[in-house]
């Protein structure tokens, strides 16, 4: 059993948990993820490691309520327990001094981009960060991101905060004006990562993305998370989650993320009924 030590509502739909997981916290590195299962009947879902503290023995995760499991997770409180927490999983980020790097976090993807940005900053990189979301109250960790970036750009789709734009607009400008960008790292919804890659391709700047496939065991055993990279089938859980974005088949990734529309709807309806929510 794994105790939730801290809960913070970052917005109506985005929640932060700090979870006690001593051994995992000791081993976690930027770019890793973990799997959790709430209770006996629960499903295993992969979540990002947004931060970790090996001294305190804690993991921080940030999740968006999108389906039954994440809604249920959001009802848990400090002091509650999760039946299973498994990690750290996946290959961690490759960190070195690349020179000038742009880090892009979209929506709930701001959380996992943070520890990578921090690690890159600590490695001596010059960092320009772009964080974006649909609307103002979905932006979080602006200050945290600013502290580990040399420059921070905030965008919202509706213009309610920061610049009214999608993240690819300032990204395109930066790439046009700065010929010395050596790397772009982008984490967010698949559609955002797809367009980030389309943008960086024009300037031939290497781009790393972190893929959020459906997973079950997340140790390479089942292949639920398979994706195509450069025409080859890869498992996001063990070969990734980070890949060369210019080689990823994002349309396949998005199609596979939509494997269970009816089941997700049914589970959500039943859950709402049970909780007495309309």
């Amino acid at each position: 059993m794994f105790k939730i030590l801290k809960k913070e509502e970052l917005s109506d739909i985005v929640t932060l948990f700090e979870i006690e997981a001593k051994d995992i916290a000791k081993k976690a590195k930027a770019g890793n993820f973990f799997v959790l299962k709430i209770h006996e009947q629960g499903e295993r879902i992969p979540l990002t490691i947004a931060d970790f503290d090996s001294e305190k023995g804690t993991l921080t995760t940030v999740f968006q309520k999108v389906g039954k499991t994440t809604y249920h997770l959001g009802t848990l409180n400090e002091g509650d327990y999760l039946s299973d927490v498994i990690g750290p999983l996946g290959m961690h980020s490759h960190i070195e001094n690349f020179g000038k790097v742009i880090c892009v976090g979209g929506g709930v993807g701001i959380a996992p981009i943070y520890p990578i940005t921090r690690a890159l900053k600590e490695a001596g990189n010059t960092i320009i960060s772009i964080i974006g979301a649909r609307t103002k109250n979905l932006i979080f960790w602006e200050e945290k991101m600013r502290r580990v970036s040399d420059e921070l750009i905030v965008t919202t789709d509706d213009g309610s905060y920061g610049r009214k734009a999608v993240v690819t607009v300032p990204l395109d400008e930066l790439l046009r004006e700065n010929k010395d960008i050596n790397l772009v790292i982008a984490i967010g919804p698949a559609i955002m990562m797809k367009f980030v890659c389309k943008t960086t391709e024009k300037y031939d700047v290497k781009t790393i993305v972190s893929l959020n496939s459906i997973m079950v065991d997340a140790t390479g055993m089942c292949g639920a998370c398979r994706i195509e990279v450069g025409g080859e089938t890869k498992f996001a859980c063990v070969d990734g989650p980070e890949f060369d974005g210019h080689k990823v088949d994002f349309d396949l990734l998005m199609a596979r993320q939509r494997m269970y529309p009816e089941e997700e709807k049914l589970a959500m309806e039943r859950y709402k009924e049970k909780m007495g929510v309309k």
């Binding site: 051994d23 995992i24 081993k27 299962k37 009947q41 629960g42 499903e43 295993r44 039954k68 499991t69 039946s83 299973d84 927490v85 498994i86 990690g87 750290p88 999983l89 079950v216 065991d217 140790t219 390479g220 055993m221 089942c222 292949g223 639920a224 398979r226 994706i227 195509e228 089938t233 063990v238 396949l252 199609a255 596979r256 939509r258 494997m259 269970y260 089941e263 997700e264 049914l266 589970a267 039943r270």
Partner: protein, 483 residues
């Protein structure tokens, strides 16, 4: 001479009664009902008690088959169970899933003229009987040796090794990557063939013996083997993680929605209990028309699970003929009875997209058998121009597994063979790395539960020896490897 006389009046084997095929094809309950005590005695009474019993030689863990059958004949069922358990820590499992027809039962003298003794059914009977009577005996705790052993993987090999080592007085920790112990017994073999409650009780028994179980521990990520040996005080380590990485066919359309590896399909159904969705949260696609590709036990299990989930039609597509199928005979027979359609001498060539990223069909090609290949089975060759299509909405390749590199990639000093499996001495499981033993599918490639258990037993003996002297000589292994 006496045996000959007996043979003439040989009684037929006592059959286990089964759920009717078309009933059981729609539920997840076990297929056969257990023997009643009378039936068990009747079956045991067919045993000729040979002077030189051959059956024992067919058992990878050397269960004293004649003795336990004699005890059943005498009505001493509990004693019979204990007799089995002297050699086999998982009798309720083995009675259900061992390929007895190619092991103990294949050597039974009765089999020459009729049907061999139903060793598997009897083993299952005594194990269930002991458990139901609540008379599970916990052997006396041996004197502690002060040695610690880490076992990585709680499947059949790990459980057997753990049970043996704990009874030698060592401290034993079983590390399991998943949230439940049992490995393939939990995630792979379906409920109707091996009820999970039985696996849970067998694991509980091993815990009662004193084995410590650590779940959710992905060794290689959470701890490395070197950390276990150097920082965490383990004197030896047994790697029995299974093969674990599903193979795909490499044909177009394999990543469409609706195509599952058998591992994923079975893990969702068994470990995650997706057949109880939405009571359980893990979903699974319930196909109307399902095709499973392969001819092994995993293929049979997948096909029969698909049927039980509610598929209207389930095809089993296999590139050779039925005679070459590696699956246990009983499973093939059950699959036929339940209405699975065998599409033999057929190989898939591509999956067809419905335009929305879902599979809607599979194109296949007819095969014919040519010359025997390395496995001794006749190699299937495609017949030009014989392509045809089958409409499906779920496809399940069940083609076996490869070596999972998650743990092995963290062990650069461990020698692997060309296929990525661990090179280990056959008799001992000793590897190229001091203190590290390996066995089961991660050494041999996909095999059976009982062979993994056999490896667990051998490795336990070897670890016992090693812990006495800490002597490590694998010169044979190196020779074998360099050849």
């Amino acid at each position: 001479m006496e045996e000959k006389k007996e043979e003439k009046k040989q009684k037929p084997r006592v059959k286990m009664r089964e759920q009717a095929p078309l009933v059981r094809a729609r539920n997840f309950m076990e297929v056969p009902y257990a023997y009643t005590p009378d039936e068990a005695v009747a079956e045991a009474s067919r045993c000729l008690a040979c002077l030189r019993p051959a059956c024992r030689n067919g058992c990878p863990v050397e269960v004293d088959i004649p003795s336990f059958i004699k005890l059943i004949k005498e009505g001493k069922f509990i004693e019979a169970a204990w007799k089995v358990k002297e050699k086999n820590a998982l009798p309720a499992v083995c009675g259900r899933v061992c390929p007895q027809e190619i092991q103990c039962e294949s050597l039974c003298i009765l089999g020459k003229k009729g049907e061999p003794i139903a060793v598997g059914n009897l083993e299952r009977f005594v194990a269930d009987y002991e458990r139901e009577k609540g008379e599970v005996q916990i052997p006396k705790k041996p004197k502690p040796t002060g040695r610690k052993v880490a076992i990585i993987g709680s499947g059949p090999g790990g459980l057997t090794c753990a049970a043996d080592l704990i009874q030698s007085g060592h401290q034993v920790t079983l590390f399991e990557a998943l949230h439940k112990p049992g490995g393939v017994l939990i995630y792979g073999i379906p409920e109707f063939r091996l009820p999970k409650a039985i696996v849970e009780r067998e694991v509980e028994y091993i815990q009662k013996l004193g084995v410590e179980l650590t779940l959710n521990a992905v060794i290689g990520k959470l701890h490395t083997v070197d950390e276990l040996l150097n920082d965490r005080g383990y004197d030896a380590c047994f790697i029995c993680t299974g093969a674990g990485l599903p193979m795909f066919m490499g044909i177009p359309g394999e990543n469409l929605n609706g195509i599952y590896s058998a591992n994923e399909f079975l893990t969702r159904a068994n470990l995650m209990k997706a057949y109880l969705f939405p009571e359980y949260d893990t979903p699974i696609k319930i196909g109307k028309k399902v095709a499973v590709f392969g001819g092994g036990n995993v293929a049979m299990d997948s096909a029969r699970v698909a049927l039980r989930l509610g598929a209207e039609k389930v095809y089993l597509v296999y590139r050779r003929s039925e005679a070459e199928m590696p699956a246990r005979k009983a499973e093939v027979h059950h699959a036929h009875e339940e209405g699975i359609e065998f599409v033999l001498l057929t190989n898939p060539t591509r999956f067809i997209d419905d335009g929305k990223g879902n599979v809607c069909g599979v194109e296949c090609i007819k095969m014919e058998l040519g010359e025997p290949d390395q496995s001794g089975r006749r190699r299937p060759v495609p017949i030009k121009g014989s392509e045809f299509q089958i409409e499906i909405d779920v496809g399940i390749p069940a083609l076996g597994t490869r070596s999972n590199p998650l743990l092995l990639s963290t062990l650069p000093d461990l020698k692997l063979n060309k296929r990525g499996y661990i090179v280990a001495e056959e008799a001992t499981g000793m590897t190229s790395k001091k203190g590290v033993f390996a066995g089961g599918d991660i050494v041999t490639g996909s095999a059976t539960v009982i062979l993994a258990m056999g490896a667990g037993r051998k490795v336990a003996n070897a670890i016992n020896e090693y812990l006495k002297w800490k002597y490590w000589d694998v010169s044979n292994l190196t020779k074998q490897f360099t050849v």
